[in-house]
Amino acid sequence: MQKARVFVMPKKSVLDPQGATVKHALNALSYGNVNNVRVGKPIEISLDEKNGSTLEELQEMCDQLLVNPNIEEYTIEVIKK
């Protein structure tokens, strides 16, 4: 695998003040139908051409560094060229 995207999102049970504030702002801008917003962090990882990573390795990176399991959850998407 040469390229992957990790979506780190605040857990549903955890307060997301940023999401709440953005929702308010969108409502105020006349997008009254927006009823929930969550703001997270996508991380795009490019890997060596010759030396990619397995899905397990990517999961390891998440668990070790990229994601704070206390308050965040994640999914991994592989980007094909």
Binding site: S13, V14, L15, P17, T21, N68, N70
Partner: protein, 748 residues
């Protein structure tokens, strides 16, 4: 009410941290089996965190009375003292150790949020923060990430809400491995007549909820803080609370605006044990009863039951008692700040806390059962066996053949001494434009724009000393704090404290606790600085045992005039260095022993309170007279380090040299004279013409003082006994200013 015998099994009771005897007591108060919600309410209110059940008796030793005290310790959310001209200040320190161990960023951030709420509920505008911190070995990557998380969490919350963090402590020792201490201090200012109370009075008055919606955050946080951390605690992660400093800023402005009107009778923040604690404590203080309907509580999540609602610790929420017909006025102020206040109940005179969910009663408990009648335990303190062994140290165990200049540099670059600007530069320490003495000097000083006075504040506590001798260590914590305050030109006023200890049901921890409190109390009496409030944090343990007993003292002092303000740095130009206080070579418990020789042993320095008071009174007098230009107290690292620190003006990025001579004392050891931490010593600077006069004045007052050399030369020269040390100034600067930063960058 339904019968609940089936749900309330012995396991459930145990899981709530309630002992068999305590459960019997609950049955006695209710005359029936509690509902699960009620059991939850008892468990949080009777937790150590809310009830102080293992510390109440001992804390009574603290002196709490004084001439200017407007609100005494324990009466309200924070103490309040008069500073003249109709103005008062309110301040307090809190711990957020356990949440920060689990989730450093949010744990520290919500700690700041909580202490700020404690202060503005008194009607005071918060104007300064400090953050006394303790971590494990700074060389461990884990500790570094903890440190980074905690510091950025404090920065995130404090900076965003716009209250300057002007001081604190950062200390590393293996004893705190896995159990960091994150204490937070906040100070606010108010007019006497604006003082707010946390009491629910006036039958028929509205109980009003305002702020963030309630989610499942931190459920059982309060009991959690009263249990030891074990590896399973990682599983408790759903308990993490997330702070929203922006919302708190709105809440703060709205509440202060509202409190300055006359519609609010009582106010309390929802901190630990959230809705439960705020309702029963306000009712208890008001001698009243309260009835709330939780179906009216704004919820962030769906499907929360009564138990979860009552125990949630969602942040940024306040409870207010509003006069019957004033809801409209209250609403209009909150709406201006895009906040929404909801009436969730009424005050009555039943003496009972009634919780309904719509029409169904889910809890009905006598208020006093949760507060005044909560269990209290008398511990059986017992001197730990390690103490005698640890105190016992003979000089010959300390190798002598070291290069003293090299040791000075190593100590200056030791993370426990090196400049902490990596920390405080991440904090907005200037917002509000009051910070007159920036972080880095003995005490921070802020001016009060409302008057011509200034306030000095310092936080201190030496776990090393307290581990070796909790009684002397307790005295020194207070004395050192007062010394820092005096060095800035202030008169010590009062104290808040945070007592960080291990498991209080262990007899040696109970002993450490009691001895520290005894020592602190004695010192507080001596400096006439009553304790106006504080916090106890027990169960600070890791798999290897209890942390070092670490009482943190937050002291506040008053400076009458701007001209009295002093910093620790030698001024520009040339002049004389004066040492006030005894010569000495008490090496036991010193940072030198720990960091250079790997020995956390020996008898820590003795604190003679009479000597200390004499030194402090003299120094304050001489500062006020204008005879001295700078003042710095001697603490960790001893005389050599204090002298080096006085040379480096961190904020101007300048350094000056000294030429000084230090006599060797009884032990005959040069290293002891340089690095011993004998107490009650302050380094002053004066222009040459004034120096002799200062010495003479000291002599008249019966205070030891001597000229030990000159500042304003080209290098750092020390003569000690027969040895001479010379260090080039850039080396000193490099070691002191850059090591911590470089250490932390290395792993980025």
């Amino acid at each position: 009410m339904k019968k609940h015998e089936d749900t309330i099994t012995p396991e459930v009771i145990k899981k709530h941290g309630i002992t068999e005897e305590e459960y019997e007591k609950i049955l006695g108060f209710l005359n029936r089996v509690p509902t699960l919600t009620e059991l939850g309410i008892f468990s949080v209110m009777w937790s150590e965190h809310c009830s102080y059940k293992h510390s109440r008796a001992v804390l009574k030793l603290f002196p709490t009375e004084g001439p200017g005290i407007l609100v005494k310790a324990g009466e309200e959310n924070a103490g309040v003292i008069d500073i003249g001209e109709g103005w008062a200040i309110s301040f307090k320190v809190e711990s957020h150790n356990h949440p920060s161990a689990i989730e450093p960023f949010q744990g520290a951030a919500t700690g700041i949020g909580g202490i700020i709420r404690d202060i503005f509920t008194m009607g005071a505008r918060p104007i300064a923060l400090m953050d006394p911190l303790r971590f494990g070995d700074v060389n461990s990557p884990k500790v570094q990430s903890l440190l980074k998380g905690v510091v950025s969490g404090i920065a995130h919350y404090g900076n965003c809400i716009g209250i300057p963090t002007v001081g604190g402590e950062t200390y590393f020792d293996d004893a705190y491995e896995g159990n960091p201490l994150v204490n937070v201090f906040c100070l606010g200012i108010l007019r006497h007549e604006k003082l707010a109370r946390g009491a629910a009075t006036g039958v028929g008055n509205s109980v009003v909820y305002v702020g963030a919606a309630t989610g499942r955050d931190g459920i059982h946080g309060a009991t959690f803080a009263s249990e030891e951390l074990d590896d399973n605690s990682i599983e408790d992660r759903s308990a993490v609370q997330v702070g929203d400093p922006f919302l708190e800023k709105l809440l703060l402005e709205a509440c202060l605006e509202l409190l300055h009107g006359h519609s609010v009778v009582g106010i309390q923040d929802m901190g630990a044990a959230g809705l439960t604690c705020s309702t029963c404590e306000t009712a208890s203080r008001g001698g009243s009863g309260i009835e709330i309907d939780i179906s009216k509580v704004p919820m962030r999540e769906t499907g929360m039951n009564a138990y979860e609602t009552m125990l949630s610790e969602s942040q940024e929420r306040m409870l207010m008692i509003v006069e019957n017909d004033q809801m409209e006025k209250v609403n209009s102020i909150f709406e201006k700040w895009d906040l929404h206040a909801v009436e969730i109940g009424k005050v009555n005179n039943s003496g009972i806390m009634t919780v309904k969910n719509g029409s169904q009663v889910v809890a009905e408990i006598p208020v006093k059962a949760l507060t005044d009648e909560a269990p209290a335990y008398h511990s059986s303190p017992c001197k730990p066996v390690y103490i005698e062994k640890a105190q016992n140290l003979s000089d010959c165990e300390i190798p002598e053949q070291y290069d003293l200049g090299d040791i000075i540099l190593r100590l200056l670059g030791n993370p426990n001494i090196a400049c902490k600007r990596w920390v405080w530069e991440q904090y907005d320490h200037m917002v509000m434009t009051n910070t007159v003495v920036l972080p880095g000097s003995d005490a921070a000083v802020i001016r009060l724009k409302e008057t011509n006075k200034l306030i000095a504040m310092s936080s201190d506590g030496n776990g090393r000393y307290c581990y070796l001798d909790p009684y002397e260590g307790g005295k020194i914590a207070v004395a050192e704090s007062a010394r820092n305050i005096v060095c800035s030109g202030a008169k010590p006023l009062a104290v808040t404290d945070c007592m960080n200890f291990g498991n209080p049901t262990k007899n040696d921890v109970a002993w450490q606790f009691r001895k520290c409190v005894e020592g602190m109390s004695e010192a507080c009496e001596c400096f006439s600085t009553p304790v106006t409030g504080g916090n106890v944090s027990f169960y600070n343990e890791n798999p290897w045992g209890a942390i070092d007993p670490t009482p943190i003292v937050g002291m506040v002092g008053l400076i009458e005039k701007e001209e009295h303000v002093r910093k620790q740095w030698f001024p520009d130009g040339k002049g004389k260095i004066i040492l006030v206080g005894p010569l000495g070579d008490e090496i036991g418990g010193s940072l030198y022993l720990k960091e250079i020789h790997g020995l956390k042993r020996g008898l820590p320095p003795r604190m003679n309170l009479k000597t200390e008071k004499g030194v402090q009174d003299f120094v304050l007098k001489i500062i006020k007279k204008g005879d001295v230009l700078s003042a710095h107290d001697v603490s960790d690292g001893g005389l050599a380090i204090a002298l080096a620190e006085s040379c480096i003006n961190i904020h101007q990025d300048t350094i000056t040299g000294i030429d000084a001579k230090i006599p060797v004392c009884l032990s005959g050891r040069e290293d002891f004279a340089l690095f011993g931490e004998t107490q009650s010593r302050i380094i002053l600077s004066a222009v040459s013409e004034k120096a002799d006069d200062v010495i003479e004045q000291a002599a008249k007052g019966g205070v030891q003082a001597r000229i030990i050399g000159d500042y304003g030369v080209d290098s750092f020269c020390l003569k000690v006994g027969s040895k001479s040390i010379k260090i080039e100034l850039p080396e000193i600067k490099q070691a002191y200013l850059n090591t911590l930063e470089e250490l932390l960058k290395r792993n980025e």
